[in-house]
């Protein structure tokens, strides 16, 4: 059933041949970036103990930061969230980030406490 009271946003999503070239260039850039980051992560994971022993703490946080960079590029560029309106972007990311930070904090904090309790009383 055709309805003329609904604006077809899907129909307005197209782009021209010229714009396509620019977009493909950006896709190539993100591809190379993600690949390089993954290779760096694996090399760091395998060789960190030979390259710089006793630095596990820094290596771990490097992994987490690199993962965040990768995630940002996938969400913003591949999933086109960066091209969407700001209100939908915030609606997706803000509640999720808030909840995630809370759960990461509380889980790690509690886990360390449980570990301490076991160490002290067992």
């Amino acid at each position: 059933m055709e309805r003329d009271d609904i604006i077809e946003y899907s129909l307005n999503a197209g782009h021209s041949e010229e714009q396509g070239r620019v977009i493909r260039k950006k896709i190539l850039f993100v591809t190379v970036l993600l690949s390089v980051i993954t290779i760096c992560e694996v090399l760091l994971g395998v060789f960190w103990s030979t390259w710089m022993p006793d630095s596990w703490h820094w290596v771990k946080w490097t992994f987490i930061v690199l993962t965040m960079v990768k995630a940002t590029y996938i969400v913003m560029s591949f999933m086109h969230l960066g091209d969407e309106r700001r209100n939908i972007r915030s609606m997706i990311l803000m509640p999720y980030m808030l909840f995630l930070m809370y759960i990461a904090f509380i889980v790690i904090w509690e886990a360390n406490y449980v570990h301490e309790v076991l160490r002290t009383f067992l």
Binding site: E17, I27, I103, H115, L122
Partner: protein, 282 residues
């Protein structure tokens, strides 16, 4: 009989009669909502993994990813994390081909969509096969943990495959950990092995050679749940690909369905990026 959905409403009530405040179609908005809730499930799983790891029973050690996942199909020897890295790379590349399919769809280039979407399906299938290899290798094990009669822990340097008899002359074990420098060799080591209290080879739901039971359980659940998502994604992509080939979207005037399937596929890739970091690297 009429419910809320079938009630006739004036345009002034729907979106205030104007444009959608998000400038998004209903379908895309809903797939985003679904992805957020699915992302919460995965964060819950990874968070509980973090809890198990940080609250570990004193005296126990959490296994190291580089040691557990160090085999490469078709090659003998140790290639730490190489195969997982290849899997990650394949998944990222299949994400790239997906975004190229979406781009081709925006130009109404049916041939391009078919090509890129087909490559995406191929990448997904490769990833699933790799995961099957990882699982089979994980379950089969590579070093078998031996608890010696004097309470020490030892690991076989070469895991005896199911029906192979052990040759005492070439038998060897490392004491303490897989990478330990302390090695016992030959018939003397074989005697220790025969008098051992227990031998755990590979992994199952109750015990594993790598470390705490929960380690294997989290491995099975998290990578299994993700693998199920990949499987679903591949099926979805095949359905969409069939519809593209039939020309359904071309007649409709837009390839938004490719975009929606793409959002799901990128999400699967996104989850793997986190699983890769927190399960294999950190």
């Amino acid at each position: 009989m009429s419910g809320e959905a079938s009630k006739t409403m004036s345009n002034a009530v729907l979106w205030g009669g104007g444009r959608s405040p998000f400038s998004l179609s209903y379908g895309k908005l809903m797939i985003w909502f679904f992805l957020v809730s699915d992302a919460l499930t995965f964060s819950g799983l990874l968070a509980s993994y973090g809890f198990a790891r940080h609250s570990l029973m004193p005296g126990m050690e959490w296994p190291i990813g580089e040691v557990v996942f160090s085999s490469f199909p078709g090659l003998s020897g140790s290639y730490p994390l190489m195969y997982v890295a290849l899997m990650t790379f394949i998944l990222i590349i299949s994400s790239v081909t997906m975004v190229l399919a979406v781009e081709a769809g925006h130009r109404m280039d049916k041939k391009g969509v078919v090509k890129w979407l087909f490559l995406t399906v191929l990448g997904g299938a490769f990833f699933l096969g790799s995961q099957a290899f990882e699982w089979s290798h994980f379950i089969h094990g590579s070093h078998a943990r031996v608890t010696l009669a004097d309470g020490r822990t030892a690991f076989l340097t070469e895991n005896p495959h199911h029906n192979e008899a052990i040759d005492p002359a070439t038998f060897a074990m490392t004491i303490g950990s897989v990478q330990s420098e302390e090695v016992v060799k030959g018939p003397e080591a074989y005697k220790l092995y025969q008098n051992a209290i227990s031998v755990v080879s590979g992994a199952n739901m109750t015990e594993n050679e790598y470390g705490p039971t929960s380690y294997a359980n989290f491995f099975f659940f998290i990578t299994g749940f993700h693998g199920f998502h990949v499987f679903t994604g591949v099926v979805l992509n095949i359905v969409v690909l069939t519809m593209v080939i039939k020309g359904i979207f071309h007649r409709r005037g837009h390839y938004e369905m490719v975009e929606k399937a793409g959002l799901y596929w990128h999400f699967v890739d996104l989850v793997w990026v986190f699983v890769f970091t927190f399960f294999y690297l950190v």
